[in-house]
């Protein structure tokens, strides 16, 4: 039985060593190069005395970054991807919660790392891949590794303003990759076009299946997602046949009439998720790619990538939503109502997840972990954890699971999961802001920030851009004389939403 994700790499390098594994505009690496370099990195990191600890990978979006992930696993440590796209304030928070002893940089990021007040060791990718690998040492590390050892930490938005680091292990990733690739029907002819950032768990969909099947992943330059024709050109040029994108990336193509000029010729498998797909846009995709398979994926980072899937097999009306379907094999979904009981067929309940796919929890945060990774209330006989997603769902007449809404102020925006509370906490850090509240326009996909304080909108925007990732920066900022309050003295979000809608309709 496979116990380590690196076995994917070790098996495939024997089969197709010279095939391209990962490529971007400027560089490409074969499976042999991925294997050699990650073992060199693993040897180096371990020889520096790092073991069973987080190693931060602070690199741009290119094949070398992926190889570094594997290198960190070879060393017996776990990788924590961060990226220059993440603003300084957030990187500082992440480094603060990890307290890492080692950071691996590339030639671009090595000059910026000193800005974060980080005082540990810094290693340069180009240098450490030159390390001669130490076979005995690597074998010794492997002997001691078990499948519940962590392999990565990725950070997700936290309502208190501090991002939470989700820790995943070999076992949950292997469970995910086996079942995902089965559903997507990945094989050696698969050519992935990667869109999602390498610092979120979404990229697992391309990274590990590429190793398992000897497929190829092209990293698509981010700038192409502004220019739909160039994007389709890239897909055709690289003969990309499989994509797992956020919905907003797909609609960039369909919304501007791109299909009338150019169609992705090789695409046959289109997985999407993280957001509701507007049916009008979805119909365009299906019209121009009638033979492609469309698969909706759903799942929280806390349960390793995705947990549920639905392959579209019927037409949808404009007011319908595409179901999230059913759980992957070896994953179970339980709906729980307010009393922790299972609701009647067709009634709404919180989506709770059971299975090997559960991650280990939040790093250095037992309190938050224990709030959502809890004993299954339906089982009073032995310890059994479930993860409470905070998402509300129900089963439709076809027995398919459907997402209904969130229990709290978490939203999905541009494929990212965001706590509106985190934006508010950051806005309130600005000394001149007396009060701040965020609402989300789900139809227009806009985050709106209302604030009270003697400071211009431009200054607020400038401040937030330094502190928050781009996708969390409000799309609209409004100054108020006073914040509307509920009788309990809380900010009245409902009233703000009404005010916003009134203003938009004028």
């Amino acid at each position: 039985m496979q116990n380590n994700v690196l076995e994917y790499l070790e098996i495939i390098v024997g089969k197709v060593p010279d095939k391209i594994a990962y490529a971007d505009e400027n560089s490409a690496v074969t499976f042999r190069e991925a294997y050699d370099r990650s073992r060199a990195i693993g040897t180096f990191i371990h020889k520096q005395g790092h073991y069973k600890e987080p190693v931060v990978v602070f690199m741009g979006k290119h094949p070398g970054t992926i190889i570094t992930f594997y290198g960190v696993i070879y060393s017996g440590c776990f990788y924590v991807p961060i990226d220059e796209e993440i603003p300084k304030h957030r990187i500082e928070l992440i480094l603060g919660s990890l307290n890492p002893k080692a950071v691996i940089c590339d030639n671009d990021t090595i000059n910026t790392i000193s800005e974060f007040g980080y005082e540990g060791r810094v290693y340069l990718y180009d240098d450490i891949i030159q390390t001669p690998h130490d076979e005995n040492m690597l074998m010794d590390i492997r002997d001691k590794q078990i499948d519940t050892d962590p392999i990565y930490i990725v950070f997700t938005s936290g309502s208190t303003g501090i991002p939470k680091g989700v820790v995943a292990c070999h076992r949950s990733v292997i469970d995910y990759i086996e079942n995902l690739t089965d559903v997507l029907k990945i094989n050696e002819n698969t050519v992935f076009g990667n869109q999602t950032p390498l610092y979120v768990d979404a990229c697992l969909k391309e990274l590990y299946p590429t190793l398992k099947y000897g497929a190829t992943t092209y990293i698509i330059p981010k700038s192409l997602f502004m220019f739909p024709l160039k994007l389709v050109e890239f897909l055709n040029d690289k003969k990309i046949n499989t994509i797992c994108w956020v919905v907003s990336a797909l609609t960039i193509i369909s919304a501007f009439g791109t299909f009338e000029k150019a169609v992705p010729e090789y695409l046959h498998t289109i997985a999407f998720g993280s957001e509701v797909f507007p049916i009008k846009q979805f119909k365009l995709w299906r019209k121009y790619l009638p033979n492609a398979r469309f698969i909706n994926l759903y799942g929280p980072t806390e349960c390793t990538g995705m947990s549920c899937y639905y392959e579209v097999n019927r037409d949808f009306e404009l007011d319908e939503t595409i179901p999230i379907g059913r759980p992957f094999k070896n994953t179970d979904i339980i709906l729980l109502d307010d009393q922790d009981k299972q609701p009647k067929q067709g009634d709404v309940g919180e989506i709770c997840i059971r299975g090997t796919s559960l991650t280990l929890g939040y790093y250095n945060n037992f309190e938050k972990t224990n709030e959502v990774f809890v004993q299954n209330p339906l089982n009073t006989s032995y310890p059994e954890l479930i993860y409470r997603t905070g998402d509300l769902g129900k089963y439709n007449e076809f027995g398919e699971l459907v997402f209904v809404s969130r229990k709290d102020n978490q939203i999905k925006h541009m494929g990212h999961r965001i706590e509106l509370g985190e934006i508010e906490v950051v806005a309130n850090m600005q000394p001149d802001i007396k009060s701040a509240c965020c609402i989300f326009d789900n139809d227009k996909k806009k985050i709106i920030l209302y604030y009270v304080g003697d400071i211009t909108k431009a200054e607020v925007a400038g401040f937030l851009k330094q502190k928050l990732p781009r996708y969390m920066v409000p799309n609209m900022i409004e100054n108020l004389d006073s914040m509307p309050l509920t009788p309990n003295g809380k900010i009245n979000r409902v009233l703000l939403m009404e005010k916003y809608k009134l203003q938009e309709n004028l």
Partner: protein, 76 residues
């Protein structure tokens, strides 16, 4: 032109759009903005921007966007 600047400032109030001519090159406008921008321009000027015009050169400055809109309005 004022209307275009107003739309752009709605998205990035801290940028001086009268002078900036590297909106794309310096990643001031990114894929998060382009959808909003195009839909607001289309609504404001009652035009539809064909996909072949959605290229970096047409969005690098308020002036370039203005020229694009003028051109599209003339063609109608």
């Amino acid at each position: 032109m004022d209307k275009i600047i107003e739309i752009l400032e709605g998205m990035h109030p801290e940028v001086d759009f009268n002078t900036c001519n590297t909106l794309i090159d310096d990643k001031i406008i990114d894929s998060f903005d382009i959808v909003t921008l195009i839909s607001e321009l289309s609504e404001e000027f009652d035009i539809s921007i064909p996909v072949e015009e959605i290229i970096p050169e047409n969005f690098n400055s308020a002036k370039a966007i203005h020229a694009l809109i003028e051109r599209l309005l003339e063609d109608e």
